[in-house]
Structures are given as structure tokens and as C-alpha cells.
Amino acid sequence: MSSRSNAEWLQALTERPGEAQGEALQDLSDFLQRATLVYLSLHRSELTGWSRDDIRTLAEDVTQEALLEIRDSLESFRGDSKFTTWAYRFAINRAASELRRRHYRNVSLDQLQEDEPVVFQALLLEREAVEPERMMERRNYLNLLRDIIETDLNERQRAAITGVHVQGLPVDTVAAALSMNRNALYKLLHDARKRIKARLQAQHLTEGDILAAFED
């Protein structure tokens, strides 16, 4: 574990190139690589078939990219966490993005739009005996939600809901298919949620009302 305080990390990393800075960079690189490997080990099911050398190379690449980003971002460190926790965030963000990119490389906008018409279909399949009145109630709620999605949301919001909530794809992956970044997609989905909530509340429907129709 690092014995440097936050101030000591900052001082060593920002001083003139020399022995102290070199040591701090080497230590930070080592910590980042170890943190990256811990993260990758938690997601080992996504690395099936990878050799030890492949994983080592991925961790080294992530570490190098994170180290560059950290050096460029040192001025933004506000000291409200441990320096190392702040630094690990860059490596984990990079490692997570890389795993998602490799795992879901061919998702397209067309693929998201193909599934739009069947968004709620699976919810009406009868897995168990459901009373006809209850099934009618479910159908009515789903028709209302479908109407809200079709009339109140735009094409990109519909595709985003299909990708994230129906297909269960990562936000990063859906964002890439829609040619935007994760932050923009979050805002798009947030706006969609606000619109849907407002319409449901305008009809005086609570979450409990709808849950009661769907819970076993």
C-alpha cells in the first residue's frame, strides 16, 4: 500500500522531472496495474479464452492510458478522497469501457430499432395462470406505456430504452450505436424517464398501482 499522503503524491508527481518524480510515477503505474487486474479478475467470465499474456498486455495498455489521463488531470484533484482511489477510478473506467467495447462490438442503431415493436411482448406471456381481469389490467398499463413511448419520446429515446432496458446492453454500447457518449445518453434517458413519469402521474397512477398488476 502507498505510504504517501495526498500532498506527497501531488508534490512528487508535479515537481520537476527527476528521481522523486520517476519513483512516484513508477509506484503509481504499479498500483494502477494491480488495480486494473483486480477489476479484470472480477470480470473474468468476459475474458474466457484469453491467455495470461493477453490479460497482462490489456492491463498494461489500460495502465498507460490511465497514467497519461491522470497526469493531465492532476489539477482537478480536489482532495476529497484518497489520491489512489481518485487515480484508480481512471484505470477502472478505462478497463470497463474496453471490456464493453470488445464484448459488444457490433451493435447498430438498426438493431436497437428492430426490437422496438416487441418491447412489452414478453410481459403478456402467461407463465402461470393469471385471472382474465388481471391480464386485462396488465394489457391496459402496457398499452398506456407503449402510447407514451410512441407519442412523447423521440426516435433516439425509443432506441435508447430498447437498448438499455429491453436488450440489457451497456449504456456505453448503446451510446456508441447512437453516435454519442455515455453522458449524453444518460441525459437522453433521464429526459425520457421524466416524460414517462409525468404522463403516468397525470393519470394519477402510482408505482404501487402498476406493480400490483404485475407482481406475483
Binding site: 500500500m1 487486474l37 479478475s41 482511489t85 477510478r89 432496458h165 444518460y186 433521464h190
Partner: protein, 104 residues
């Protein structure tokens, strides 16, 4: 959409607030949130806007879990060495998350 996803989505809709922090803002606050957690504080109490975002964004939530696991290991004995973790890729079990009770 399967029933589990639907009920989760419904909960996300009704939990929506007018002002939510976005992913960029979340990333800035995440290290402090993790450190509160590792120190045994209730991070959702200290940074409720982070907790709310994590309930809405699966990618940020996944990165939170990863960062928390790393910070827990560092706080309780240190991160395993590179070769130690690499060797564990060849065994069945992933690197365990720290499981000592969190101080009250």
C-alpha cells in the same frame, strides 16, 4: 423486456427526479463516495445524488463496484501483486472482495 427488467425500469421511472447528476459529475464524486463506504460511513447519506445516479446507470454502477472492491483491498492489506492476480485467472475463483464486517 422481461418481468424483472420491467419492474426495475418502472422503479427507475418513479425514482426519477428533476435534477440528477450526469455521468461526468458522477465520476468526479465517485472516489469520495467509495472512500466513505470503505471507511464504514453510509455513502448514500453523505452523497445522496451519487446513490441516485448509481440506481439509474448500470455502467457507472458497475464501475463503482469495481472501484469499491479495489479500495477495500487496498485498505485491508493492500492490492495483490501483478503475478498473484494473473495466476488467479487460471483458477476457478475470482479475486475475492474484502468481506470483513464494515465498522459501524
Amino acid at each position: 423486456m422481461d418481468p424483472t427488467n420491467f419492474l426495475h425500469w418502472l422503479d427507475q421511472i418513479y425514482s426519477t427526479t428533476t435534477t440528477e447528476i450526469d455521468c461526468d459529475q458522477l465520476q468526479l464524486l465517485l472516489p469520495a463516495y467509495v472512500d466513505f463506504n470503505v471507511a464504514g460511513d453510509d455513502p448514500g447519506d453523505r452523497l445522496p445524488q451519487v446513490k441516485a445516479h448509481l440506481a439509474q446507470c448500470p455502467d457507472c454502477a458497475e464501475e463503482y463496484e469495481g472501484l469499491r472492491a479495489v479500495a477495500e483491498l487496498e485498505a485491508h492489506g493492500g492490492l495483490p501483486q501483478v503475478e498473484e492476480t494473473l495466476a488467479q485467472f487460471e483458477t476457478e475463483e475470482p479475486v475475492p472482495e474484502h468481506t470483513d464486517p464494515v465498522p459501524a
